[in-house]
C-alpha cells in the first residue's frame, strides 16, 4: 500500500517528446485508470512508474521516496502485462512463485502464499500446468496471481484485458476491481477502452498526446469534461461538436459547442433549434441511435433516444432540440469555457 506522486514527468525518445509534463497524486489504495488513444504516452507513463523506462525529467515518488533511479525489483511493484508474459517453461505454480523465490522467501511461506492466491483466483486445479495448456482467461489469472503473491505496494496493469474476448473481459474487469478493493493495494491501470476506465476507476486520467487532459472521478469527467478532446473521447457514441456560430444563443465566448447524443431530442420539422435529415438509424433495443445530417453541415450528428420512441425513417426531415445546460462550450484552443 502506498501513495504515488508524479511530479512534472517528461519523457523523450531521442528528439521526440512523448510526455510533456504530467502531474498526478495518487492516494493509498486508490484505483487510477489512465485512458487515451494509442500513442498518447499512457503505456510509457506506466512503464516509467514500473522503472522499465527512464524518466527524462521530473520525479516519481512512491510513498514519498523518490524512485527515479531505482530498479523495478526494488520499487516493490507488481506488473500485469498485456500478453501476460508468463514464463513458458514453468508451471503455473512456479510462475507465481518465481518473484518470491528470487526474494529468498522461505519455502513454506511461498507455498502458502501461492496457494492463497490460487484460491482467490480459482486457479487451484491448474497449479501444475504449463501456461500453454491454459486458456486466455486462465493465463490472465496466472498473471494476476503472480502480481498478488508478491504483496506489492503498487499494482501496475498494462492493458491486461485487451487480448480477451468481450465476455471474458467483462468478467475479468469485475474480478480485478473486486480483488483490488479487497486487497486495498494502490493500482495504476492503463487502457484504451473507456468502458474499462469508467467502470474500474476511482479516478481516471485522460491522456492526450503526452498530456493529462483531465484527472477526476469517472462521472465527473463524463459530465464535466475540461477539454474538447476529453468530451470527444469519453462517451459512446461520441459527443457531437458544432461551430458555435451555427447555433442560436450559444455562449458568446465559445468557439465550439459539444452536445452529448443522449441530451438531444428529435422534434418535428420546423420546430427545435436546428433542422436536418435522417441518414440512418441503429435500433439497439433499449436505445436507438439516429444519425442525421444537419442542414448546411456535412458531418453526421448523432442522437441517442429511448428504444420505445417511434423510429424515424431515413430521408425524413426532422429538427433537433436540447436544453441550454446540455451545451458544453469550448474555446478555440479546445479548453472548456
Amino acid at each position: 500500500m502506498a501513495t504515488i506522486k508524479l511530479d512534472n514527468i517528461k519523457k523523450s525518445f531521442g528528439k521526440t517528446d512523448v510526455i510533456h509534463g504530467v502531474d498526478i497524486d495518487i492516494e493509498d489504495g486508490e484505483f487510477i485508470v489512465i485512458v487515451g488513444p494509442s500513442g498518447c504516452g499512457k503505456s510509457t507513463l506506466l512503464r516509467m512508474v514500473a522503472g522499465l523506462e527512464t524518466v527524462t525529467s521530473g520525479e516519481i515518488l512512491i510513498d514519498g521516496v523518490q524512485v527515479n533511479g531505482v530498479e523495478p525489483m526494488d520499487r516493490d511493484i507488481a506488473m500485469v502485462f498485456q500478453n501476460y508474459a508468463l514464463y513458458p517453461h514453468m508451471s503455473v505454480e512456479e510462475n507465481m512463485a518465481y518473484g518470491l523465490k528470487i526474494a529468498k522467501t522461505p519455502k513454506a511461506e511461498i507455498t502458502e502464499r501461492v496457494a492463497e492466491a490460487a484460491r482467490m483466483l480459482q486457479l487451484e486445479p491448474y497449479l501444475k500446468r504449463k501456461p500453454r495448456e491454459l486458456s486466455g482467461g486462465q493465463r490472465q489469472r496466472v498473471a494476476m496471481g503472480r502480481a498478488i503473491v508478491r504483496k506489492p505496494k503498487v499494482f501496475l496493469f498494462d492493458e491486461p484485458l485487451s487480448n480477451l474476448d468481450a465476455k471474458l473481459r467483462v468478467q475479468m474487469r469485475l474480478e480485478i476491481k473486486e480483488l483490488q478493493s479487497r486487497l486495498g493495494i494502490t493500482a495504476l491501470y492503463v487502457t484504451h477502452d473507456q468502458v474499462e476506465a469508467m467502470t474500474l476507476a476511482d479516478r481516471m486520467v485522460v491522456m492526450n498526446a503526452g498530456e493529462a487532459d483531465q484527472i477526476g472521478a469517472p462521472l465527473e469527467v463524463y459530465s464535466n469534461p475540461q477539454t474538447e478532446f476529453v468530451a470527444g473521447f469519453i462517451g459512446s457514441p461520441a459527443t457531437n461538436f458544432l461551430d458555435a456560430s451555427t447555433i442560436p444563443n450559444a455562449p458568446a465566448s465559445a468557439a465550439r459547442i459539444g452536445i452529448r447524443p443522449e441530451h438531444i431530442t428529435l422534434a418535428p420539422a420546423g420546430q427545435g433549434r436546428l433542422s436536418g435529415e435522417v441518414i440512418f438509424t441503429e435500433a439497439l433495443g433499449a436505445e436507438t441511435l439516429v444519425h442525421l445530417r444537419l442542414s448546411g453541415g456535412t458531418e453526421t450528428f448523432t442522437i441517442r433516444q429511448d428504444g420505445a420512441l417511434p423510429l424515424p425513417a431515413p430521408g425524413d426531415a426532422v429538427a433537433v432540440d436540447w436544453e441550454d445546460d446540455a451545451m458544453m462550450a469550448f474555446s478555440e484552443g479546445g479548453r472548456r469555457v
Binding site: 523495478p72 508474459a85 513458458p88 503472480r146
Partner: protein, 286 residues
C-alpha cells in the same frame, strides 16, 4: 471424418508407392555397402583381406581384432584416441554453445558502446574458416605452449559465429515483456539468463549440440597439426596415422575396426539426441 483421397499428396498407394520404397532401399544399400565392407574387414584376418576375392561376410576374428585395436592399436590404443576425441568434441560443442549463448545474450539484451562493432567482428569470423587462419593460430597455440594438449585442441575452435547468430535470432523472438516481467520479479540479468532464457533455448541447444559434436569429432587438420605425441592423437586423424609409410605392412583388420569404432559415437549422439529434438520441434513453447 474426411476420407483421405487415394491420390492425395499425403499418401501414395499402389505401384508408385512400391517403387519409392525400392528406390529408397536401393539408395540405402549403396550408401551402406562400404560400411558393411569395413565391418567385414574388421572381423577377418589380415590374410583373408589380402587374398582375393574380398570377403563379403563377417569372419570369426571380431573379438581379436577389436580388442587388439582398443588396447594396443598401432601407434596408440584406440581406447585412448576415442577418449581424446570425446574430450575434444565435447569441449568444442559445449564450449561453443556456452560462448555463443553468452555473446548472443550480450548482443541482444545489453546496450553497450561498440555493440554494433562487436556484432560485425563476430560476423567477420564467419568469413575465415579454420584452414585460412591455421598458420597464425598454430603460432599462437605454440606460443602458449598448448601443443599436444586438450586446451590446444579445443580453444582455437571454440568461438562460433554461426551458433551466436542462431541464438541471437532465437533470443530476438523471445518477447521483451518476458525480460521485463523477470526484471519486475527481481531477476538480475544473469538470473534471467539461467532461469528463463536457458531453459527456453534447450531445444536449440540440443540441436546445436548434435551438429557441433559431429563438427568437433570430425576435426582432422587441426589435431593433425598440433598433436605430435601419439597419446594425444584423436581418432579421426589417428586412422590416417595407422596407414603404413613406405613398405611397412598395414594391419587392415585393426584399421577397419578403428574406423568402425570412430563412427559409433556420432551415431550414438545423433540417434539419442534425435528423439529430444523431435520432441522439441513438436511441442513448441512460445
Amino acid at each position: 471424418m474426411a476420407r483421405i483421397p487415394d491420390e492425395g499428396m499425403v499418401e501414395k498407394r499402389g505401384i508408385g508407392h512400391y517403387f519409392t520404397h525400392v528406390g529408397l532401399i536401393f539408395g540405402v544399400l549403396i550408401i551402406f555397402f562400404p560400411i558393411w565392407l569395413a565391418f567385414v574387414a574388421s572381423t577377418v584376418t589380415q590374410s583373408d583381406i589380402i587374398r582375393p576375392p574380398m570377403p563379403l561376410w563377417p569372419g570369426d576374428q571380431f573379438l581379436t581384432n577389436y580388442s587388439k585395436a582398443l588396447t594396443s592399436g598401432i601407434n596408440a590404443p584406440v581406447a585412448l584416441m576415442l577418449m581424446n576425441s570425446l574430450i575434444m568434441a565435447m569441449g568444442i560443442a559445449l564450449g561453443k554453445i556456452l560462448i555463443s549463448l553468452l555473446s548472443a545474450f550480450a548482443i541482444v539484451y545489453f546496450k553497450f558502446p561498440g555493440r554494433r562493432l562487436f556484432f560485425w567482428l563476430i560476423f567477420l569470423t564467419l568469413m575465415l574458416p579454420v584452414e585460412v587462419r591455421i598458420v597464425p593460430t598454430y603460432e599462437v597455440v605454440a606460443g602458449f605452449g598448448m601443443l599436444n594438449s586438450y586446451s590446444g585442441l579445443i580453444f582455437p575452435l571454440i568461438a562460433s559465429a554461426t551458433a551466436t547468430f542462431l541464438f541471437r535470432q532465437f533470443f530476438m523472438t523471445v518477447p521483451d515483456e518476458l525480460a521485463e516481467a523477470a526484471r519486475v520479479d527481481g531477476a538480475r540479468p544473469m538470473r534471467f539468463f539461467w532461469d528463463i532464457l536457458l531453459p527456453m533455448s534447450r531445444t536449440n541447444i540440443a540441436a546445436l549440440f548434435v551438429i557441433l559434436f559431429i563438427y568437433g569429432w570430425n576435426q582432422y587438420l587441426w589435431p593433425l597439426l598440433i598433436t605430435t605425441d601419439p597419446s594425444m592423437n584423436t581418432i579421426v586423424m589417428g586412422i590416417k596415422q595407422m596407414f603404413p609409410s613406405g613398405d611397412d605392412f598395414a594391419d587392415w583388420p585393426v584399421i577397419m575396426a578403428t574406423s568402425i569404432l570412430a563412427m559409433l559415437p556420432p551415431v550414438v549422439v545423433v540417434v539419442s539426441m534425435q528423439r529430444l529434438f523431435i520432441r522439441g520441434l513438436v511441442d513448441s513453447e512460445k
